[in-house]
Symmetry: C2
Subunit: 476 residues, 2 copies
Amino acid sequence: MKQTQQYLKAQNSIAPLFEPESVAVVGSFKEGRPGGYRVIKNLLAFGFQGKFYPVNPLYDTVFDRKVYPGIREVPQSVDLAVVITSAQVVPEIIGHCVEKKVKAAIIVSDGFAERDEQGARLQQEVVRIARSSGLRLLGPNTIGVVNPYVGLITSQYGVLYEKIHTGSIALCAQTGLIGPSTMPFEDMHYGISKICDFGNKCDIDEIDLLEYLGNDPKTKVIAMHLEDIRDGRSFLRKVKEVVSKKPVLILKPGRTEESRKALASHTGSLAGEDRIYDSAFKQAGVIRVSTYKELFDLAKIFAYQPLPAGNRVAIITMTGGGGVMGVDVAVESGLVPAKLSPETTERLAEISPWLASNPVDLGPAAVVVDNFFSHYEEIVETVLKDRNVDCAAIVFSGVPRVLDYQIFARLETKISKPVAFWIYGPKLSLAEEFARNLENHGFPAYPECEPAIKALGAAFRYAGIKSRLSQAEEKP
Amino acid sequence: MKQTQQYLKAQNSIAPLFEPESVAVVGSFKEGRPGGYRVIKNLLAFGFQGKFYPVNPLYDTVFDRKVYPGIREVPQSVDLAVVITSAQVVPEIIGHCVEKKVKAAIIVSDGFAERDEQGARLQQEVVRIARSSGLRLLGPNTIGVVNPYVGLITSQYGVLYEKIHTGSIALCAQTGLIGPSTMPFEDMHYGISKICDFGNKCDIDEIDLLEYLGNDPKTKVIAMHLEDIRDGRSFLRKVKEVVSKKPVLILKPGRTEESRKALASHTGSLAGEDRIYDSAFKQAGVIRVSTYKELFDLAKIFAYQPLPAGNRVAIITMTGGGGVMGVDVAVESGLVPAKLSPETTERLAEISPWLASNPVDLGPAAVVVDNFFSHYEEIVETVLKDRNVDCAAIVFSGVPRVLDYQIFARLETKISKPVAFWIYGPKLSLAEEFARNLENHGFPAYPECEPAIKALGAAFRYAGIKSRLSQAEEKP
């Protein structure tokens, strides 16, 4: 029963959370302080495309904008309210939101269920008020959401940059750590569709997000950090449905009894045995990741690259040692080193006999063949076009002038097999610049071997999951 | 018998490889090209403190220095020769080295055993010539060595920086990837005692390096990448001896059958089953790492911090979610979350009741306590001085002006328990700057959760290994 309700609710109403035409910000506007002031500042800096209304009876203006004494006094309709007040007044404000027919509210304020019994009761009261009208609630105790496509950002903290790259990765987490005031999204050039911090999940939860993001045309991959799952059965049904359309990566802490204790005090919820989650995730086709970094790293391959048709990986490397490390990671990630076809090895051997095996180690050939790098593009293309190759990892040094980086730009248009790069080099800035150039051309690039190859392994795994799920759907 | 010889040789003679008073560089001096020209350029840029002599019959001068026609014509004695010529002339040059009583030679040239049968014969010939006199050989097919304490660098490639920080981490690898032209050591502020690329290991090998570095007062930790181990029994004996004095971290690729095949074509040697290595490493007290990145990450804790007396870790975090992730990694790394003593929880509760458990999550307290960060130093000190705490991970955001970073500088003098930091934040440059400040005060800092806590786990593991080995030694 609960499940059906939740499905209907999510379908009806969480879009205003990410795509509001108008936002009311209810909070303090004390200059330079966290709170409403920062939210307005961030909305201005990120160029929010909708309207927004500061709300507080104690202020007249903020950033030369009129401040309304209450949300009911805002003259236009309000899609989304961002509430950053003391917990005690939140029920009253949510009541005003209901009266104003606000569609969604983000309760940034803390001091609710995560704090104590009294806070938990206050949270119940807030939910009760909202449920009376169908107003959707995110939080409490959340930094809210980001939608870089419309410049929406609800963080009450300083962000230190003014732009988040638009892209197709949706990030959701049960921690504020996911937000722009802690993650260097601009420096990472990380292409985002939506960000959401669940907070206490008093209403909007992982099922709502899966539903919304599953249907969001801007989102190609969903990366989620979940400390608990409230309704396992509904979650499983929903995630399976979404996984048949797009990949879902989940980081689920609480792998150990000790961390489950820490979890209980962090979220106030009791997480179940890890193996239950693990087998449920497997069953639903979720790609489980084990570190916070991996959640970001693996998402990139799905955002940028096609899925591989099989698990045969070619490794084209500048370092023999790196190639060997890559094979270890490949096999441990479910890939197998591709056995190059006779045509390929023949062609490569014409350039240099040292090239004619996989990993294709360019090191030895580069020292014996004159003007070796003039052959680079041909080598990469020959290997990638091999019918025995499903995907490739390219290991390259980010140093100036070794070769025309445009090779990779051209490659983008010629090859429809997934490729991931490991870019290293003596200057971090040069390696980062090269990596960003590659990512601008749609190739995920990593400063280490492991995530590059693990990402290909995850893409292969998801390709299998997707085909299994769609076959299952076709059956009567 | 072979083992005894090797021990004697190493004791006698590999020091000139790292601490030569005079170096001859035999190679091409074609301007701007890899080869002898770059070696001289690098030696000048890094300020090599010894003498060095360019050698080549076809040049008169390079960088305004006299070029000697042959090594025998150098008027002074030569400790170390760096040979970067075509493979064919290497035997002749090594012959000259023998005549000149050179103590060690680095054969940078390739085209030996790693190339083909003919190369393998050439390599045997070179070894035979050197053995006649006790001349020690590194390589062939190596980028050689670095000793930042004396400005020694033998790379024949451009490095793109001119300083490697001196420190106590020794890096050895069976790949040129370890070298300064591929690793951003300056950007990493990575403190190095010695670097060595083994190359083909025709003479100097991992046993020699363990012997030398085990006795090197500048080296506190040895981090080694090994594709094969030639003499397992001697290696085990030697590594055990070294491990009783300082930690040895080893990255040993070839964990899978597929990578062992790739290894065979990379080094020409057949690596054995991985489980044999694994159990041998365990027996010898080697800390095995699984990724190239981890080799560097874990070495830092041994270089900077004392060993923990036990495995009870405190996590002091700005993010509850991060604290939970930390507990998972801690337990999986052999640590347990410390149970804070009643005195500690009482003292913390005076500041805020939300602080009184481990992980010590500052987030909730920071929003309710006025001027919260004025208590930060006391919180960290109270937790670290707790008798139930053996080590700590501190999770902190690298943003400006949150608190006086000098807190950590003062901490350094007050606490003799190991601490590792996870530093995150919205700007990579600020997080990196903070991390470097911390490392300058002796605290290893990482941009992710996992390596910070894994490092503490490795330190605990090594503390146990060391005490076990020293107890075993004390027994008759």
